[in-house]
Symmetry: C2
Subunit: 223 residues, 2 copies
């Protein structure tokens, strides 16, 4: 059973927006290989476990969160022969977009898990740098055509907060008036809760919740 078999793992690209920047959950490795380096959280797929289930289990173990808290999808699979010096390991990467947690990394069983700036992680262990880059690019692209930006937001949010998500992930600035027109005009993207909230300074803003759309029409294209 050694021919043509490989260890199968799942690795997670968990993205959130904290402190006004895109951050990713990383774990500092305590053992070789890559001892002391940051790595994506992950682990083995159990013998009778589906891939999605393994990724969901890892998500719970690392963050205490449920996959339904934000957005969760398979990203891609990486299996270059030399990617793990210990042997043949094929990893199925998952991407999750999560709201900023009130209780950060509660119940994590992985000591040393930390939210780190996604655009300045330094060199990661294994091929995790590439996996992270692929995850960020997927997230950026999905914000254009899907309502997934709301996955970064709490259940109710202002349009300015939603705009901040786009600006943070895309690393750009957007005109507040045009953005307001587009997101309120897109079918079932967001719906008003009826309440208003004062966030920082200035006029109070309407609160919105996610709408029912799964595709954004019309889309919000990157400038």
């Amino acid at each position: 059973m050694t021919l043509n078999t490989a260890a199968v793992t799942v690795d997670l690209v968990l993205l959130t927006i904290r402190q006004g920047e895109l951050q990713v959950l990383l774990i500092r490795r305590g053992i070789p290989p890559f001892e002391g380096r940051w790595a994506l959280p992950g682990g083995f797929v159990l013998p009778a476990e589906d891939l999605d289930a393994a990724a969901a289990r890892e998500l719970r173990e690392e963050t205490g969160l449920d996959p339904s808290s934000g957005h969760f999808e398979q990203l891609a699979t990486y299996g270059a022969p030399g990617r793990d010096p210990r042997g043949r390991v094929v990893t199925v990467a998952y991407l999750a977009l999560l709201p900023d947690l009130p209780a950060p990394v509660a119940g994590s069983d992985a000591a040393g898990a930390e939210w780190r700036p996604a655009f300045a992680t330094g060199e990661l262990a294994f091929d995790h740098g590439r996996i992270l880059a692929d995850g960020i690019e997927r997230a950026r692209a999905k914000l254009e055509y899907s309502p997934l930006a709301t996955a970064f937001c709490p259940p109710s949010f202002t349009i300015a907060e939603l705009r901040a998500v786009y600006e943070t992930v895309w690393r750009t600035t957007l005109d507040p008036r045009n953005f307001h027109r587009k997101v309120t005009g897109a079918e079932n993207f967001i719906e008003p809760t009826g309440e208003t909230a004062i966030r920082d300074r200035g006029r109070p803003a309407q609160l919105y919740r996610r709408g029912t759309a799964t595709l954004l029409h019309p889309p919000l294209l990157r400038p």
Copy 2:
């Protein structure tokens, strides 16, 4: 080495347009399980082989084609515990969009490989029905925002032939005049070769080749 290991295979969703319809390359299984059923071509990943390389090798074995002949990308990975009754098999699916081959399935080592209508395959072996459906949906979506429709075309083609690709994959009809305006207006999508060709009846058409664009701007949205 039985704990946490699995056999890793690649399966191919090879799409082409033949006889005016979207077709997929399938293989009739000669042995159990699923004996007699149609299945996607695929095979084991060799011990020292990258996933992309394994998929490219299978493509060559089945069709004699190079991945650069059309478009080639990883689709998704499937690893439900019961998907193969013989044991734990995780499969990495690849999607290829290919031009109609002048020499169909030349050099195929898989007896019983055939191009079959992609929208009417009947029940496939394993979870290949789902993999095929995912592949078709990916292809449909990619035609909107990328110039990949040209992957179905020979090196030089008319705008009507390109339109037939969209109409076949999307199962719809498009206005020839608006389509002409959009594809010629999209930046670097296609460039004229300078030659003209008479295809069937009517006025001769300009011939075009693929342009350099990797993203379609503006996109061609499904009606």
